[in-house]
Subunit: 466 residues, 2 copies
C-alpha cells in the first residue's frame, strides 16, 4: 500500500465544498459548448467566461482569458513555490455535438442526476474531470494557503475539433506554459471498478469526400439507368477502402506502423477482458476487424480508417424517387506510432483519386489538424506519480493501458514545448462519450478530488526523484 | 395536316378565362400537398377541398370528395351524351417533398413567374397539367352547354407515394369509373420543341434497408477497429448490387425482362438525341449504365436499381468521431415488362440477406405498393386520337416514345377495370420535377388547353372508328 500524502485539511475542505462544486459543474454542463458547430460559438465563449469567473474567486490564481483565432483559452497560474517543480494541468470545456438528440433520455444540455450518475453532453468528456482538477486546486489553496508545487492550468475550447489554436498559443505563451510535466484531466479510465492510467493514445487524421454526378438532383425514373448515381459510386469507393476482413486496403496506409511490442501484447492479453462481455456491453453481434490481433490490441495499438458519416439523396419519411446530384462521407483515421497524419491522408486521397468510379467527380476536403499518436516511456516519473496516487486512493495497483482515442495536446505539448503528458481523469470509457446519454458517475467526483489532492502532494517528491 | 375539330366558341372561352384560370393554378401551387410527409396531411386535404370547390362552380358536373384510407380522391362526372363514348380523365394533386429546400431559387410553395416559367413544387407534376384538363372541360361546358362525350374526372392525392388507395377505390367505384379509355394528364412530354406522347411507362418497386452494428453510437476512437462499422457494411452491401458496368448484379433481377423489340430499338435510335447535349443539360460528366443499350434505351426500356437516399452517422458541420450504430438506404427499381414488383423485391431481399457483412444485422422494409410496367398497343385508337390532336395543335407529327418514370395508375386501371390509358400532358421532362426549381412553361398552358379542346372534340370519332 502506498502511504497517502494528501493533507487532511485539504481532504476536509474538499468534502465541505463538494455540493457547491457539484452545482457549479451542473451550471457548466448546461452550456451547449459544441465546438464543431458554428451556431454554438456564443455558447463556447460563455463556457470559457464562466470558468474564468469561477477561477477568479481564488485570489491567489493569475487568471486569464486568451483570445485565439478560434475559441478562447482559459489559463490560471500559481507560481508560489520557486524550488518545487511545475505542472501544466490540461482540460477542455468544449463538447461533441449532441446528435442524434432524439436518442437521449433527457435533453443533452439539461443535466439530470439518475441512479448515481449525471447525464449531460460533455459531462464525462471533459467537464466533470476538469472541474475535479480545478476544484481540488481551489480547495488546496483555501485549506493551506499555498500549493505544494507550481501550477499552470490550461482549459481550451477546441479539443473536439482537433485543437487547431493550441499549437500557436503554446508557441506564443511558451514562457508562461513551461512546466516539468503536463497532467491531463482528459483521457478517462478503462473501467469503473479498477483504476487505470494511459501509456499511449492514438493519433487522428480526418477528411471529407464528396462525389458529384449530375449538376442537380434528377428524377430517378426519367434519368435512372442513363447516368452514374453518386450514392452507388460512393458505396463502391468506400467499400474499396477495406478488405473483406476489415484491414485497411489503402496502399501505404501501414507503411510507417511500428510492430506491436511483444511485451505490450502479452500485458494486454493478460488483462481481464472478455469479448462476449464486451459485445453485451455495446450491444453488437460480433467483434470485427484486422486479423491476428485481439480486440484490445485493435482498439489501442492498431490504426483504423472509419466512416463517421455518410449521406446523400432523400433521407426523410417515405419514398422520394430522386437520382441525387451529390453524395458525401466523413472519414477519420486513428493512427499509431510512427504514422504521420499528412502521409496517411496523402495515401487515402491517392487511393480515392485512383478508384473514383466512372461518371462522377471527386472532391476531397482534408482536415489540417491531424495528430500523431503519443506514448509515454514505461518508467517515466510522472507515470509513477500517477500510479502511486491512484494506488493510495483506491488501494489497488492501477493498470497502465492504451487509449484508442486521441488526445492531440500530447503531440502539441511534446512538439512545441518538449513536455511529456500523463493522464489523470476520473471519467470511464463506458460513459457514452460522443454518444447519446453521456454520463459521469457521481461517486467518482469525490474519488477524483481525493486522488488529485494526493497527486498534487506527491508530484514534488516523484518528479524530484526522477 | 390534321383538320382541327375543336369548336371556335370553346377556344374563345379558353382564351377569355386564361388569366383567371392561371390565378387559380397559382393558388393550388401554394398548398404544400406533400403526400410522402405525414406533417403535410392537412395540406393534402386542403388541396383536395380546393379542387372540389373549384369544380363545383361548374353546375353541370357531379362533384364528389371521396374519403379513402389515405388521402381523399376528388371525382367529377358528366354523363349527358348517352350514345358517345366515356373517358376517365386522371390527374394527381399531391407533390414530391421539396428537399433540398435550400437549393430553390424561390421558395417551393411560393409560385414565382420568371422568364415565361412558373416555378413551384408540383407545378409540372402534376398541378398545371391537371388544371389544363379541368379548365378545358369547364370552358367547353360554358361555351357549348355540353361535352362531346361522357367524362369522369379523377384526381388523387397519393400518386407520389405509389397510389396505395386507388386500387380499392377503383374496385368499389367501378360502376362510376367505367370508361372506354383513361386519359392521363400526368406523364409529360419529352421535349419542349416537339410534341410527344407515351407508348409505355416503367414500373416501380421500393424497399428500405437498415444495418445495425452496436446497440448505440460509440466513440470511434475507443471502439474503432474492434467492431463492424455499419457505414462500411452498407457501402459493401450497396456496392454488391451492381457490377462494374452498372448492370444490376442481383440474381434473378433480369429473369422476367422481355428483350427490347428491334423495331422499338430502331425507332429510338432514330430520334434526335445526342449524349453530349444531354450531358450538358443535366450537368453530368459522362453517361453510365448497362452496356449494349443507348442512353434512351436504358432510360425508357431497361430496368434499374437505384439508391435514392443513404445515410448514417454524423452529417453536420465539422467532425464527429462516432462509430454509428445504424446505417440506412432507400432503394427503388424501375421495372419493364414482364417484371413483377414482388418477385423483384424478393430477389433483392434474398441478395441482401445473402451478402450482409459480418458484425451487423439487416432489416428490410418493403413497400407494398409496387407497380408493373405499362405499355399501349401500337395501333390503339386512343393513341391515334392523342397523336392527331397534337398534330392539329402543333402542326407536326408527334413522336410516340417511352417514359422512364412510372404511372402506377395505368397498372391499376388495366388490372382493376380493364381500361387502357393514354397520356396527354403538357409538362416537359426538363422541368426539374422531383428536384429543386421545378417549373412549368407558361405558354404551354394555352397550348395544352387548345389541345385538350381538340382531344375532347376528336375522341368520339376516333374511339368510334376503333
Amino acid at each position: 500500500m502506498t502511504t497517502p500524502l494528501a493533507p487532511p485539511a485539504v481532504l476536509a475542505e474538499l468534502e465541505r465544498a463538494h455540493d457547491r462544486d457539484l452545482a457549479a459543474l451542473l451550471e457548466l454542463a448546461r452550456i451547449p459548448s459544441v465546438s464543431a458547430d458554428p451556431r454554438h460559438a456564443g455558447d463556447v465563449h460563455a463556457a470559457a467566461e464562466l470558468l474564468a469567473t469561477r477561477l477568479r474567486t481564488q485570489a491567489e490564481l493569475d487568471v486569464r482569458l486568451h483570445a485565439t483565432s478560434g475559441n478562447p483559452i482559459v489559463s490560471a497560474s500559481w507560481r508560489g513555490a520557486p524550488h518545487a517543480p511545475t505542472i501544466l494541468v490540461y482540460g477542455h470545456y468544449d463538447v461533441q455535438p449532441p446528435d442524434p438528440v432524439d436518442a437521449w433520455t433527457t435533453p443533452p444540455f439539461e443535466p439530470s442526476i439518475r441512479d448515481g450518475r449525471i447525464y449531460a453532453r460533455g459531462i464525462s468528456d471533459d467537464k466533470a474531470p476538469l472541474s475535479i482538477a480545478i476544484d481540488t486546486i481551489g480547495a488546496y489553496l483555501r485549506a493551506t494557503g499555498a500549493l505544494p508545487l507550481n501550477i499552470v492550468l490550461l482549459l481550451e475550447g477546441e479539443e473536439e475539433v482537433g485543437s487547431p489554436s493550441l499549437p500557436a498559443f503554446a508557441l506564443c505563451e511558451r514562457a508562461r506554459l513551461q512546466a516539468d510535466l503536463v497532467v491531463s484531466a482528459d483521457g478517462g479510465m478503462w473501467r469503473a471498478d479498477h483504476p487505470t492510467t494511459l501509456r499511449s493514445t492514438r493519433g487522428l487524421a480526418a477528411l471529407e469526400l464528396s462525389l458529384r454526378g449530375a449538376g442537380k438532383d434528377l428524377h430517378s425514373g426519367r434519368h435512372g439507368g442513363a447516368l452514374a448515381n453518386p450514392l452507388h459510386a460512393l458505396a463502391e469507393l468506400v467499400a474499396s477502402l477495406h478488405d473483406e476482413h476489415g484491414r485497411v486496403n489503402v496502399e501505404g496506409f501501414y507503411d510507417d506502423v511500428l510492430p506491436l511490442r511483444p511485451d505490450l501484447s502479452a500485458a494486454t492479453r493478460a488483462l481481464p477482458f472478455d469479448d462476449t462481455a464486451y459485445l453485451a456491453e455495446v450491444g453488437a453481434p460480433a467483434t470485427y476487424g484486422e486479423r491476428g490481433y485481439s480486440t484490445l490490441e485493435r482498439q489501442w495499438y492498431r490504426p483504423t480508417l472509419e466512416l463517421n458519416g455518410m449521406w446523400g439523396g432523400y433521407t426523410g419519411p417515405g419514398t422520394k424517387t430522386v437520382l441525387p446530384s451529390r453524395a458525401h462521407a466523413k472519414i477519420t483515421c486513428r493512427l499509431v506510432a510512427d504514422q504521420d497524419p499528412r502521409r496517411v491522408l496523402d495515401a487515402i486521397e491517392r487511393h480515392l483519386r485512383r478508384h473514383v468510379p466512372t461518371g462522377v467527380s471527386l472532391a476531397v476536403a482534408r482536415s489540417e489538424h491531424g495528430t500523431r499518436a503519443y506514448h509515454l516511456p514505461d518508467h517515466h516519473p510522472g507515470l509513477r506519480a500517477v500510479t502511486r496516487s491512484l494506488h493510495a486512493t483506491y488501494g489497488v495497483e492501477p493498470w497502465v493501458i492504451g487509449l484508442g482515442g486521441s488526445v492531440p495536446i500530447c503531440d502539441t505539448f511534446l512538439e512545441q514545448l518538449g513536455m511529456a503528458t500523463v493522464f489523470f481523469s476520473f471519467a470511464v470509457g463506458d460513459e457514452n462519450i460522443h454518444a447519446p446519454d453521456e454520463f459521469f458517475r457521481l461517486h467518482r467526483l469525490a474519488e477524483g478530488r481525493r486522488a488529485w489532492a494526493e497527486l498534487l502532494a506527491r508530484l514534488p517528491h516523484e518528479l524530484g526523484d526522477g
